[in-house]
């Protein structure tokens, strides 16, 4: 009896979370429509919102683009979400992603290593960059947000400096002003497609990366929910002092969770660049990679649930790709970013939505119970 009740409570809690996220998405899209209407009222719906919502499914190639961008986003989303679950805010995913990109591309372009070793290098460098804020937090009590922000920029400038190398960097292709294309210089370092690209209109960047990302999501879910290690990490997040009192080494756990979060973000960069979705441009990259910050969006939308992150990442990539298909005659592709950002702003107070939905459900249940009582 008791067990049954706790189960139904758990599932209704999950339902409430999903419902709250859907409310955020609905309001976000509605506000997006308002923005579209302000820019160009005549075309706002047909040439605006509908294009964003439909394009991702319109052709196999578009679907492929969505998938290719979803894989790394799942990883950065997992990175941020994992840290959230352990009570830390990993705003450093962008920096860890940058380091991961460097590791993957260095091993691929310079060392010509097979793809799984490149991915491992991306993971290791991401983990290193994630560990730093953890160490600062554990031993010096400096807020991980501040450290991560600083090391985002340090990492970006460092990676750009090494890659560009005054125009003579080993990975820098003068003719394209980006890093060398893996397809040309090191095809062996590309993540295998295993027929995926044939499925999606011969788009070469569709690889098994999406499956790797999903496997990671499941692994993170298992670690967080089914292992003692995950339990300890979460305990530290809920209440550091109580965890300490229960004999959990909180310093070690803070560093470990940031390291794991960094590793996840690093893998994300590996999946992106080893699938040759794009090349790194070390010269104009004065801005941190958006994939890292979108990971925050994806994690928040999924309420940090690893499995939910798969779907939220799919959704964000979907509308981002939809945004690029907007006719430049009327709109710019950044509208999709505006919509995502609005959704995240709403997510920040999703607790409010959750309470509303909970109250609604309770009122509903009470009225049905009252009805039942009347029948008896």
């Amino acid at each position: 009896m008791d067990k049954k009740r706790s189960f139904s409570l758990g599932s209704s809690e999950a339902f409430i979370s999903v419902a709250a996220s859907l409310v955020c998405i609905a309001i976000g899209l509605a506000l997006g429509l308002v923005v579209l209407a302000i820019i160009n009222a005549e075309h706002a719906f047909g040439d605006g919102l509908l294009v964003i919502l439909k394009s991702g499914l319109q052709s196999p190639r578009n679907m492929g683009t969505v998938l290719a961008n979803t894989a790394p986003l799942i990883m950065t989303g997992l990175s941020v979400g994992f840290a959230f679950k352990t009570g830390l805010f990993n705003i450093g995913a962008a920096g860890q992603y940058t380091l991961g990109a460097f590791g993957a591309l260095y091993c691929a372009i310079v060392l010509h290593l097979p793809w799984y070793l490149c991915l491992l290098a991306a993971m290791a460098l991401g983990a290193l960059w994630g560990a730093i804020p953890g160490i600062f937090k554990a031993y010096l009590n400096i807020n991980e947000v501040i450290t991560a922000i600083m090391f985002n920029w340090i990492g970006l400038y460092m990676v750009n400096d090494i890659m560009y190398g005054r125009g003579q960097g080993a990975m820098y292709d003068l003719s394209s002003t980006k890093t060398y294309s893996l397809r040309k210089v090191s095809p062996g370092s590309m993540i295998p497609s295993c027929g995926m690209s044939d499925l999606f209109g011969k788009l070469q960047s569709v690889t098994i990366a999406i499956f790797i990302a999903i496997l990671f999501a499941i692994a993170v879910y298992v670690v967080l929910n089914k292992t003692t290690f995950g339990y300890e990490l979460k305990a530290c997040g809920f209440n550091k002092n109580a965890a300490q009192y229960a004999g959990i080494n909180d310093k070690r756990n803070i560093i470990l969770s940031m390291t794991i979060a960094g590793a996840l973000a690093g893998v994300g960069a590996g999946l992106y660049y080893l699938s040759t979705v794009a090349e790194w441009n070390p010269q104009v990259s004065t801005a941190l990679p958006a994939m890292g910050f979108n990971g925050i969006s994806s994690a928040l939308l999924a309420c940090s649930n690893p499995i939910g992150t798969i779907f939220s990442s799919l959704f964000i990539s979907y509308i981002t790709v939809g945004g690029t298909k907007l006719s430049t005659q009327y709109y710019t592709k950044e509208i999709a970013d505006v919509i995502t950002a609005i959704i995240i702003y709403l997510c920040a107070f999703s607790l409010l939505f959750k309470n509303r939905i909970r109250a609604l459900l309770r009122a509903n249940r009470r009225s049905t119970e009252a009805l039942k009582g009347g029948e008896e």
Binding site: L140, I146, W153, Y157, D161, F349
Partner: protein, 306 residues
């Protein structure tokens, strides 16, 4: 050359100081303002657009005043979004701020492209009204605005009733409430002031140095640097001023390194760009034990809690 260094140092000092002072007001009232970067972008955009729309025939002082007012207003309105989420809706302040940062860059590009009517987010403008030559030294209008802001901030924070109440809300809101201070109102004031200063700071970052700006890069991390300045300055106006000078010096070295004796060091621009961030980490590491942030910052105020 020395004058060039001085010019850039003054420019960045004013920017970092004003934005950090803004952050100080917000955090002293109890609200973490990580959205400074986004506020700067929106303020800068408003300032640039205002200059484009103001007829060039206007008096120099009028141009400066009106465009700065536009930046301040835009920053304030944008900061109100943070205030609304974190004060009225008890949202997580760090997440709300991060969302506003992401929204700012996207929104700025949409607006800039809209103003341009093209696919480029690069806006051109005239910055002649803002720049004056005093002998061999070039200064900009924001130097005066910044110094006034510093003096007024110090006075308001330490010498007025408003400042005392604001600080109380950041330290112990329950105690403040018990003596009849409206905590929500004080926190709104704190965040809105940070919007005004952040907006002007964003404009001061963009306009005096170049005459066209691509909003794709936002303000390239200046807002986050200001956040570090604020912490290094220990949430105190004069210390923030000194911290801003220190950070600005390194940032300026990046700009002029290639044309000076420093060129013989053979450092790339990226290395100079890195230094302020590394320096702030080193300083934070050494001062963290003594660091004292406002006690109640980041905690939504709940009237019922004890």
């Amino acid at each position: 050359m020395l004058f060039l260094l001085l010019k850039y140092t003054l420019l960045y000092t004013v920017v970092l100081m004003m934005v950090a002072l803004g952050g100080m007001f917000s955090e002293r009232s109890g609200i973490i303002n990580i959205a400074l970067e986004g506020i700067m972008v929106i303020g800068g955009l408003a300032g640039v657009v205002a200059i484009q729309f103001i007829p060039a025939t206007w008096n120099v002082v009028a141009i400066v005043l009106f465009s700065t007012l536009a930046a301040a207003l835009a920053g304030m309105v944008y900061a109100a979004l943070l205030a609304f989420a974190s004060i009225n809706l008890n949202a997580d302040q760090t997440i709300g701020g991060t969302a506003l940062n992401m929204l700012a860059t996207a929104l700025a590009m949409v607006i800039a492209k809209g103003v341009n009517g093209s696919a480029s987010a690069k806006l051109d403008y005239s910055n002649r009204a803002f720049i004056y030559d005093i002998g061999p030294l070039t200064v900009n209008a924001f130097l005066f605005i910044g110094l006034v802001a510093l003096a007024v901030s110090t006075f308001v924070l330490y010498r007025t009733r408003l400042g005392l109440r604001l600080r109380a809300c950041g330290e112990h809101p329950q105690a403040a409430d018990s003596v009849g201070i409206n905590v929500y109102k004080m926190r709104y004031i704190g965040v809105l002031i940070s919007g005004v200063l952040g907006g002007i700071g964003g404009m001061a970052y963009i306009i005096p140095s170049v005459s066209s700006w691509n909003f794709e890069v936002g303000v390239s991390g200046a807002g986050f640097l200001a956040l570090a300045v604020m912490i290094f300055g220990q949430w105190k106006p004069m210390r923030i001023f000194l911290a801003a000078i220190f950070f600005a010096l390194f940032k300026s070295l990046a700009n002029i390194a290639s044309s000076t004796v420093l060129a013989s060091l053979n450092w790339t621009q990226n290395m100079y760009n890195m230094i302020p961030f590394i320096a702030s980490m080193v300083i934070l590491a050494f001062t963290s034990k003594k660091s004292r942030a406002p006690k109640a910052e980041g905690v939504p105020y709940d009237k019922g809690s004890r």
